[in-house]
Amino acid sequence: MNFSPITTGHYLVLSAALLLIGSVGLLMRRNVIIMLMSIELILNAVNINLVAFSRHWQQVTGQVFAIFVITVAVAETAVGLGILIALFRNRGTVLSDEIDLLKW
């Protein structure tokens, strides 16, 4: 992989790296707020991918789909944080491994 002319491949590598970092956060952190932030990172990695291919094919469809991804991400964040507040009010914790009411 050469470094100087930036091709579509460079953007795909950046997207893959961001996806991996987001997955690390989602799988390894205990705090649910950080897990939600990691989901944002993953969805942004997808957006980079969509925009890179939109540029590659000179078509605007990828950017339209990126807008839909952003919409869904915002809805998910709002509902997730609402659930988190309700959870904290009822259980007094936001650590994912202490929320084990359904575990036997």
Binding site: F3, S4, I6, T8, G9, L12, L14, A16, A17, L18, L20, I21, G22, S23, V24, L27, M28, R29, N31, I33, I34, M37, S38, E40, L41, N44, N47, I48, V51, A52, S54, R55, W57, Q58, V60, T61, Q63, V64, A66, I67, I70, T71, V72, V74, A75, T77, A78, V79, L81, G82, I83, L84, I85, A86, F88, R89, T93, V94, L95, S96
Partner: protein, 169 residues
Amino acid sequence: MDAALFYIFAAMTLIGALLTVTRRNPVHSAISLILSLLGIAGIFLLQAAEFLFAVQILLYVGGVMVLFLFVVMLIHLEEAAKLRNYTRQWPVAVVALLAVLIEVLAFLNAGLPGLPPSPSPRPLLPGNTERIADALFNTYVLPFEAASLLLLVAIVGAVWMARKKEVAE
């Protein structure tokens, strides 16, 4: 110039993301996430997606991050920040992620197979925002309306979920 800007924005994105997933204090994580999202906005600008650049700044950095910071402040986490940072099953996560990392590296090593060269840009393209509006309101009108419905449901759901329950007697 273009390459230098790409590497600056990529470094912002990746360093911000790494700090987000490793910091102990959620406020520090949120601020690192802002750095990462700004880097992604720069990446969008480099790829001539000006509308998405504006949306990223306004919506993510302006809206979503304020929401995150509000919730972090609302839920006082001083004692949680002193506890363990990672779940107990983190070795399993490390193994799974290493497998994915090796797979990605193998793909990178092999190069991008079968990605044809991009077509030459057509002359007289109108602005980016106009083209997005064209696609959004002609071809993708139905998904657009579905997205608006989704946002409505999300707003109502979030308010309902986060509201203080009155104790019924």
